[in-house]
Amino acid sequence: MSQTASIPDYDYSVAKAFTISTLVWGAIGMSVGLTIALELVFPQLNADLPWLSFNRLRPLHTNSVIFGFTLAGVFATWYYVSQRVLKVRMVLPAVAKLHLILFNLIIILAAYTLLAGHTSSKEYHELPWWLDILVVIMWLTWGVHIFAMLGARKEKTLYVSIWYYVACFIAVSMLYLINGLAIPTWFVTQTGNWWHSVSMFAGTNDAQVQWWFGHNAVAFVLTVPIIAISYYFIPKQANQPVYSYRLSLWSFWGLMFVYLWAGPHHMMYSTIPSWVQTLGMVFSLVLIIPSWGSMVNLLLTMSGKWEQLKTDPIAKFLIIGSTFYGFATLEGPIQAIKSVNAIAHFTDWIVGHVHNGTLGWVSFTIIGAIYHMVPRMWKTKLYSERLAENQFWIQTLGIVFYFSSMWIAGITQGAMWRTTDQFGSLAYSFLDTVNVMVPYWALRAVGGSLFLTGFFMFFYNIHRTIRGAAAFQAQAGTKSALSSVTAT
């Protein structure tokens, strides 16, 4: 209780709004994901409508879950974690609010433009040039806020999570600016669509720049800030410090250096130089070391507290999240081995791998963090631990369905494409290999439905928690509720 006096009065307004953005964009993005999963099983669901067709919904799915859901979660945690580890109340609230408004505006505009078919075609960087400019402004408002917080901080030494947030900001700035370089054609001729542009790079060069971006979008949006989240919330939830400072240091700098070399594994046996492919493969394998450094460090933070996993659903989400990080960062390098990639590339095994990372690692970590933050921000109690517990098992089952079906589907199709008969002729038509996929696609859709069901349980649980906050405070008496919450 005596600590309560020294804790500054934190400003959670922006963190709360980003938390709600996370829930909304997550629900939308994952629903679109399930829709396109079902469209592969039942093609008539495309309904002959452009804005309902797989081809236009697929970029909407990836953009809304990667940039809508994940980044909103990253920003929500930033506005919560930064105040606490830097020991300072949120500075520049106007900049933070501008950041929030721009972010949500961009995602809404992105949804519209993607459905309308305005796309650069570059994976995870589909937005048209004018939206790219808005994204850069939004990103810079975040950068201003980061460095303003760092400048105003009362705690001199920067905690590990802060290193990762700063790395996310710097790396994504560099990658997005260079990969987005394009000439808007309207300014050259004053004819045609004003949103149309031509890429600055052509062919093989364009591919190399794009996958340098694409691979590291995975690194610095879906990995680095999620590690930042884990490094704050796992020790908090376990109520003990990070296992090893030295391990966090080496795995951070290792990850920073190695990740940027691994992009070529997206272009194995393509027309990029052979030495670049080999280098990309080697660095992908080396990447296991810093990735597992972080994973081991995060898991061992539970040392002596493992029994907490039996009873605490929030710890379950965070720890299984980091465990999936370990799975995904072993699976990825295996797929980057050239001979394995020859079978795996262009198949659903890659899709399965991505979802191990995004469902298991990214979503679980963000869900765990939100479950931890919401009662503290709204000064209340979680509505139902039991619901969270059931959600955990339903979603875990969903992920198992997802990756097991995609694993079998991918290896089956990759193998069928290369199977020959006794005369050395191809044994299967392309269509044969599609027909075999359908049951696995159905199983994947079952997995996706389970995961989405769990997400709606999460949504409901948080909704009830927030709605019950006023009643809880009235019942418990604002003072005692406040001290019991801040003490944890």
Binding site: E39, P43, N46, P50, S53, F54, R56, R58, P59, H118, T119, S121, F147, G151, T157, L158, W163, V166, A167, I170, A171, M174, W186, V188, T189, T191, G192, N193, H196, V198, M200, F201, A202, G203, T204, N205, Q208, Q210, L249, M256, F257, L260, W261, A262, Y269, S270, T271, I272, V276, L279, G280, F283, A342, F346, D348, W417, T420, F430, L431, V434
Partner: protein
């Protein structure tokens, strides 16, 4: 041992920036010039092909189709000669794709015809039982946007030096000239098509998206 970095946020940012730039520079820059050279005989996209390519991008066809034949017997048997870097020299953006939910299309022009594509875009299951491709009825309704085609041709010609108007390469020109060339190309395609509405539209001087799409796919050889 690096505590001084962890206490100075600008130094931390600088160290991160230097560490992350190395990999990309080593891997991308050395082969940049070599990779931009076109293969001998490569022609820039003609008016109608360019229009088709813009539709291909608008519909994110690359979400399900690759344009990259890898150097394996199983791929060259199925799709034709493996892809060469110089073939992509005028591809802005590149369209290699990352998942073959449908087959590779880099040499589709060698083994599919105009009327096959026409039937396939109406309903893929007409010609490929069990296909999961969506139908594209709006290709038969919407007109080609020659304004954007003109803008892109002039942009790549003036800014990136794509050799339009050289030798027997396709011509650039004013918007009016671009549209006139598009109509001539469209007539070649439409004579092999069966849909009467497309023929009627062409007679009125309108080119539907389907015609441009087929022109682009027929070029892919």
């Amino acid at each position: 041992m690096f505590e001084f970095i962890e206490r100075n946020s600008l130094l931390l940012g600088l160290c991160i920036f230097i560490t992350i730039t190395i990999g990309g520079m080593v891997e991308i820059i050395p082969s940049f010039t070599q990779n931009s050279r076109p293969i001998e005989g490569l022609k820039p996209y003609s008016t109608l092909e360019m229009a088709g390519r813009q539709i291909y991008i608008r519909e994110s066809c690359n979400a399900c189709h690759s344009q990259l034949i890898r150097p394996f017997k199983s791929e060259t048997d199925r799709y034709g000669a493996y892809s060469l870097s110089g073939e992509y020299a005028y591809d802005r953006p590149f369209l290699w794709g990352s998942r073959r939910t449908g087959p590779d299309l880099h040499r589709i022009g060698n083994y599919r015809t105009t009327d096959w594509h026409e039937a396939h875009f109406i309903n893929a299951r007409n010609v490929s039982p069990g296909s999961v491709m969506p139908n594209f009825p709006w290709f038969f309704e919407d007109n080609v946007d020659f304004g954007t085609v003109h803008a892109e041709i002039i942009t790549v010609k003036t800014i990136f030096g794509v050799p339009y108007d050289q030798g027997d390469n396709p011509k650039s020109g004013s918007l009016k000239e671009i549209k006139a060339m598009g109509l001539v190309e469209a007539a070649e395609i439409v004579k092999d098509m069966k849909t009467q509405a497309i023929k009627d539209a062409l007679a009125k001087g309108e080119v539907k998206d389907i015609v441009a799409m087929i022109a682009y796919l027929n070029r892919m050889k």
